[in-house]
Point group: C2
Chain length 345, copies 2
């Protein structure tokens, strides 16, 4: 155990005060260039490493930004995190990441843990069933910025970054209707999650617009829409009479799995059933037929959310964040073979 080199050691060695050393190392303008140089040289000579704990204690900032994701095992979340990491790292912030695993209790625990470890800001995509948002109160009370992304909260106080899920789902559903679909099944996750409940709305709006009656039993809600769910979904669809002619799945991996099981049951896509997914994941481009989907800008979402958070941290006087309630990113329908009953116009 070698003893740690401190600014006091440097100061003593150079016959200056610790104050000057501290200021020099932080590039404070009130220190002469010559002195700075001397101090920098001595510091690197001695192998000095700043003790960030002491600095944090005094400055009351950790330079850490917390991110809570529903699950790390998600293409979309991985993209978001990549965008966040890039921006944070460029601005000199570290990312502290934890996952709620769709459990409200774990989300609360994670939030507390982030608060106790004194992150400078928090980015969070809500777990399903997180209707009570009291666990963020400590952050607001202390003025620590919290930004929701993707699965945002519908309260007035919060700032959120997301896409227009209602519109996206409406466009997707509308596209299926235009392709001649009359009975469209919509598969989604728990409506406790904002993105799903909004997409359901969009689906309904599209139907209403075209005077197609909304049928409850055409909506399949599962707690987890993923690869495994495909079999169950298709078996449910096959029991419907008459058979639906359109399928809008809120997630590409699940859509691809449905496609697979539909094919296994002799149902042709798009001829018998047109299919639209969501997210524009790689899988949507590599299955056969390629899946029509909504392009969902995960990486950009991460960048935007992080940029906003950091802007706010660096200029706390601007009231941007408080006044910004919602940032909506552009999303778009990407039409591929899986939905084309009619020739492309």
């Amino acid at each position: 155990m070698e003893k740690e080199i401190t600014i006091y050691d440097i100061a003593k060695g150079l016959g200056v005060s610790p104050t000057t050393v501290s200021r020099a190392l932080n590039n404070h303008p009130a220190v002469k260039e010559k002195t700075k140089k001397k101090i920098f040289d001595a510091a690197s000579e001695l192998g000095y490493q700043s003790n960030i704990f002491a600095a944090n204690l005094r400055s009351k900032r950790s330079n850490n930004i917390g991110v809570i994701v529903p699950s790390l095992k998600s293409n979309f979340q991985a993209s978001v995190l990549a965008g966040m990491e890039k921006v944070a790292s460029e601005a000199g912030f570290n990312l502290v990441i934890s996952q709620s695993l769709e459990s409200s209790e774990k989300e609360i625990a994670n939030t507390k843990s982030m608060f106790n470890s004194r992150v400078d800001g928090l980015l969070i995509s809500l777990a399903s069933g997180a209707e009570n948002l009291e666990h963020f109160a400590p952050f607001y009370k202390r003025g620590i910025p919290v930004i929701f992304y993707d699965r945002i909260a519908n309260t007035d106080i919060s700032t959120g970054v997301s896409i227009d899920n209602i519109q996206s789902a409406q466009i997707a559903t509308n596209h299926l209707i235009e392709q001649g679909c009359k009975r469209i099944v919509h598969v989604l996750g728990s409506t406790e999650v904002s993105v799903y409940s909004e997409r359901l709305k969009g689906y309904k709006y599209a139907l209403i617009d075209k005077n197609i009656p909304f049928e409850d039993n055409l909506v399949i809600i599962l707690s987890d829409i993923n690869e495994e769910a495909g079999e169950e979904i298709v078996s449910q669809i096959l029991k419907m009479n008459p058979l639906p002619d359109g399928l809008f799945v809120s997630n590409d991996a699940c859509a691809a799995s449905c496609l697979n099981h539909l094919k296994m049951n002799g149902i042709r896509v798009p001829q018998d059933m047109a299919l639209v997914g969501f997210n524009n994941e790689i899988i949507s481009r590599l299955v056969e037929p390629k899946i029509t989907t909504i392009n969902y800008p995960g990486y950009e979402m991460g960048e935007v959310a992080m940029k906003n958070l950091i802007n706010h941290l660096e200029e706390p006087d601007t009231t941007t964040l408080q006044n910004t309630n919602k940032i909506t990113l552009r999303s778009e329908l990407i039409i591929r073979e899986s939905s084309l009953k009619k020739p492309k116009t």
Copy 2:
């Protein structure tokens, strides 16, 4: 700005010393139960929050574990991180994550940043081209454990968690040979990355075992093997004369993309060309034909790496880590249609 509640406030309010408060809050046995209760009650009454900066300063530990990944935008890495997060979170550690983006310089910068932010341990999957490992010296010097995972370092000092890439590739190649393939193309990433250079070895060993001559031009090395690379790879393959009859791609997403382009060019899989991927990603199960692949236990790798790190942190006296050079996880070939030229035996 409300002033922060400290243990001094609690102490003053109760007429005890800060020492006792500190001990009580840490559940020290030398404090009477009655006193503890009194202190806990006062603490929650006042809304006390421990100042972790001060605690860190004194205890010289951050309770943070750093993870450096080549890229967050990766199914595999996401799985690994999920495993790590679960174990870390259960043990009360936070995860600080950054990505090197396959750049050696950024890896060095990230490593420094992790060191300066005083993580208690470091987990890292090396960026390609990271032959020089001096940037980890400060960690070793200070006794901060570093564990490599997946893309490990081949030095004596380091501990690594990975699969047996040589053997896996050998089994995969051998499987293709047994299916009757005579000319097998191997697609891999930069051989500067341990996993790829090892798989290339395995590929060669399998050929040698079966007395098939190794041909340099059957090996396609790309800096990034991903979806986009498929087109280029297939075009290169089509130029080969005679046409190969087997294809072993070191990554499922890329394999799926190759499959796509092969089909577009009228090449039947597996009849004309048998295909094996790597990673057992979801995509390998949903394309047609389903892709034979190596199951790669990402989540478990994350768990194992993190467990080992934490064990070491909690029992630094045991010399487990120093003496453990390498932990190898089980991997296996999963045979699906894409490689079955012969009927399954």
